[in-house]
């Protein structure tokens, strides 16, 4: 009777730069990276609001520093990533959320389009509430 040996785990070797080899791989990684920019923005935003507790001087000083070129560059890049996330998210949505009415299936493009419609409406409502 031979003793059974545990099989060794198999790890495929992946080159850490595989995602640079093809455009679609690269865009996939950029989509993943978008979440980092989004998280960085919400945390920066939260920190900005936290400074309200430190009084007007500190808060306004930080507000001014947020208008320095380096921060503006960050905001611009983060906005591009955020919008890229929105576009890809709504694209996937139409594949996850299939709308059937009786035996008829709504073409997926309409699911994506209505998500974009909701996005514009919500964005407009938030902006309107903020500036009114």
């Amino acid at each position: 009777m031979s003793e059974r040996r545990e099989p060794r785990s198999f790890y495929p070797t992946i080159s850490p730069t595989w995602w640079l080899k093809k455009r679609s791989y690269f865009m996939f990684m950029m989509r993943e990276l978008s979440s980092v920019f989004v998280a960085a923005f919400v945390l920066l935003f939260m920190y900005e609001l936290f400074l309200l507790s430190k009084g007007p001087e500190t808060f306004n000083l930080f507000q001014e520093s947020l208008r320095r070129p380096l921060f503006l560059l960050f905001y611009a890049i983060a906005l591009i990533f955020a919008i890229y996330h929105t576009i890809t998210w709504f694209g996937v949505l139409s594949r996850i959320q299939v709308v059937r009415i009786g035996s008829w299936t709504l073409p997926p493009i309409f699911v994506t389009l209505s998500a974009f419609g909701a996005w514009f409406a919500i964005s407009a409502a938030v902006a309107w509430y903020f500036v009114k």
Partner: protein, 120 residues
């Protein structure tokens, strides 16, 4: 990685998904208003002043909006970072990657909740 053994997996996927929706719908407009509208000259500086934000903070549902806006994308990012690290060939550390990524999101949730409820 044994997904069947981990009963909490569906919860993290759900949070990832909810965070993705918030990141898609609310983050672009908030980012633009907070960071770019004033420098681009589209909005008066007074709209993001200390007094303005203090006034907004006294509205309870603004705080709820901020909580949802800040917290859910943290779970979204935790999930994506976790899987991206695997995809880049990273293996488990001695501390599980789940614990590091989702733990950071949970700590963030507590911190944001504390700031919104107790500090502001």
């Amino acid at each position: 990685m044994n997904y069947q053994k981990n009963k909490t997996e569906p919860f993290w996927w759900g949070m990832f998904s909810a965070g993705g929706v918030i990141a898609a719908l609310l983050v672009p407009v908030t980012l633009f208003l907070d960071g770019l509208a004033v420098p681009l000259g589209l909005m008066d500086e007074g709209m993001v002043s200390y007094e303005r934000w203090q006034a907004l903070m006294s509205v309870p549902w603004i705080k709820l909006y901020l909580f949802v806006l800040v917290v859910l994308p943290l779970y979204h990012a935790a999930h994506r970072i976790r899987f991206s690290l695997y995809e880049l060939g990273m293996r488990e550390f001695r501390i599980s990657m789940d614990v590091i990524c989702y733990g950071a999101a949970v700590v963030g949730t507590l911190a944001v909740g504390y700031v919104l409820v107790k500090v502001l």
